[in-house]
Assembly symmetry: C2
Homo-oligomer: 416 residues x 2
């Protein structure tokens, strides 16, 4: 029986799934409202790092355009702007990499088509759904647009927030010196917010994403509404002053004369409500729509999990499609059983980090400052959020992790 999978949306989840299915000889059609050429002049979409588990998936798919070592970063630098600053580093076992999605997504779209895949560029309205159900064996929904979102009700029992927990000010900047090797900096100004500094390949080479996660009511909140277009100089002066005060180690890397957005449209301001939704909708004939990526779970970008989860879930879904004879509710149930622990852990972990830190979490950070192996493990777990969740979901678990890491450290031979 020849089957065709309909993939609604061409984000990383939809594209990784489409390329996976193509590689396994399963017909898939992507339907999206954006042409590859629409991305060049688009506003910044997001700032996304791919961790090594995601890079391994790209390698599997033959997406090796950005495999050069100098495009990668190898560690997280953690900086806490306390009166007595806390700073420590955690290394990944293998490097991560960030490519601007306005570069990344159209390359994958073109590659999918070059290999014979079909992308239909058109808007979908609610009226189109019955014909799509008829046409495809399974609908994979990786966009909330076009009436599809409402097929998947929210699950407030799975995520506690109804409002954005941070006021985001996300830009891609030039004039920020990269370390060598490159790294991501996680800079925390307690009470005011976090900033994730990500070396990012964009149209003109490497620029620096400043993903500013500003606490509502804090001193950085205004950056989420400060108008760059209206008054560029005021925006940059204000930003630099705030960076100097709240994120000084990053400010020290800035050449203030050159500091500016890489392009004028490289700024994104707003906020994200973390959500989880039901994943499966059964149509009257027994066919199903299954949610993928952000339609399944939206996370705040702080921990860099959204894209990595979409890619992960795309592979789980692809494997199950290839292995399954019938793509029905039971099929969707099995997909969920395989992906849910990691996908929900990314949501829970990120939500936990958005909340005021518990004393145990504070102790964990303090211990990581003294114990490189522990900081490395925390960093490596950006690849495995379900393991991170095992470690930090409760004070008892954090304490057990600290105790184990401290005991392992005591048993290691110390340098003379």
């Amino acid at each position: 029986m020849k089957r065709t999978i309909g993939i609604i949306g061409a984000g990383v989840g939809g594209l990784h799934l489409a390329l996976y299915l193509q590689k396994h000889g399963v017909d898939a059609v992507i339907i999206t409202d954006r042409e590859p050429s629409d991305y060049r002049d688009s506003r910044l979409l997001n700032t996304v790092a791919h961790h090594h588990v995601t890079l391994a998936r790209e390698h599997y798919l033959g997406i090796d355009q950005w495999s050069a070592a100098e495009l990668h970063y190898t560690y997280h630098d953690h900086v806490f702007n306390f009166p007595e600053p806390l700073r420590f580093r955690g290394d990944f076992s293998r490097p991560s990499r960030a490519v601007d999605y306005r570069v990344y997504l159209p390359v994958l779209m073109e590659e999918f088509m070059r290999r014979g895949g079909k992308i239909e560029c058109r808007r979908i309205e609610e009226d189109d759904i019955p014909a799509l159900v008829d046409r495809f064996e399974l609908l994979v929904v990786s966009t909330g647009k076009g009436g599809f979102g409402q097929l998947f009700p929210y699950r407030p029992d799975l995520t506690p927030y109804t409002q954005p927990q941070r006021r985001l000010c996300v830009g891609l900047y030039k004039g920020v010196r990269q370390n060598n090797p490159m790294n991501v900096t996680l800079s925390v100004s307690p009470g005011h917010g976090e900033m994730i500094v990500i070396p990012t390949l964009t149209f003109d080479g490497i620029a620096t994403a400043l993903l500013m996660e500003n606490v509502p009511g804090g001193d950085l909140e205004d950056l989420a509404t400060l108008d760059y277009a209206k008054n560029r100089a005021h925006f940059l002066d204000t930003l630099l002053a705030k960076l100097e005060k709240h994120h000084p180690t990053t400010f020290d890397r800035i050449d203030t004369a050159r500091f500016d957005l890489a392009q004028e449209q490289d700024l994104l301001q707003g906020g994200v409500v973390p959500t989880v939704r039901n994943t499966t909708f059964e149509f009257p004939d027994g066919k199903c729509a299954i949610a993928l990526g952000d339609v399944h779970s939206v996370v705040d970008p702080m921990m860099g999990q959204g894209a990595n989860m979409a890619s992960y879930a795309a592979f789980v879904l692809g494997e199950e499609i290839v292995a399954s004879e019938v793509l029905d509710v039971r099929f969707c149930e099995k997909v969920d059983l395989k992906r849910q622990d990691r996908v929900l852990a990314a949501s829970r972990w990120t939500n936990l980090m958005l909340a005021p830190p518990s004393p145990s979490l504070g102790a964990l950070l303090g211990t990581m400052g003294q114990n490189k192996a522990l900081a490395d493990e925390f960093t490596e777990n950006f690849n495995y959020p379900e393991v991170q969740w095992d470690r930090i979901s409760t004070p008892r678990r954090i304490e057990a992790w600290i105790a184990r890491a401290s005991s392992e450290r005591a048993q290691q031979p110390q340098a003379a």
Copy 2:
């Protein structure tokens, strides 16, 4: 940190878990209200076959007392007492075996103690629970006795029945000839019930379990209340007459002169309500009780899944205990994620077989009568109920399975 696991109940789930933990150096204490010596004169407990995945677990635990080939059976004989009888055979890839639990359980209890394990024989009342929570790192509840059942509310959303679907008359008989090699017979008298005929090792060697699953309102229903103790001859005469009419191929194996219960207490009559319960209870201090075996899910015995699921879930639980630093709600969640597909599939599959057969299921049985490979696969899936559920949960899946099996058959070289 030295931890001790408290296991309430000494059925196959509790004992397999205790032996697993013992093998991995984790302290476990079993608490049960029955001494090993209490089993010898007990009423028949159940009739249980261990499929080869369960036998492999026993081998892992060093429970090899019953490994002799002649104690095993190797296939299922299916008999449908239609006007035009349908009969077909399905072979396992490896043999199954049934041992009377009045023999089996005390041997495992003694073995656990011989290896240094501790069994406390006493009744538990609700008042005892707080002290048990205090004493143990985790409570594994594998009996509903003593107020523990109420910790785990029923999940009516996961099983449709509120009443027994069959009136059971289960006995262990002598005077039934065994085939060579031995087999289990699944005999169906449409509209009246099923009978599972199981060669079973009991105190005096192999006897034959007749597990009669009688449909309420059918001609066999009365057997569930017929009184053996009051009038033995009447019981046996009635039973023989019913067997001759409804299960003639088994009747043909009976030496009516010798036919009787193996012992007078070897009869069990009644019915089972299929249930599924919540699996996790968190105490105020963050410690948990987790349900195992029948406390988690009770299945009708028709498909022989209850004991095999309890053993399977015991191993999942044991592996997670060995691998986990903290035994809390997150731990229980992970155990459930690993075991739920198989455990719930056993419940769903059994529930489906209790319902009137759909036309698709009828077609599957008819096809198995013509296609030995399909019948073998159905039989082998008694080891893997989640695979069986993949195959038969909907008419579409059954049709896809029949189509695949028929196509594979057409591609095989036929004997000249």
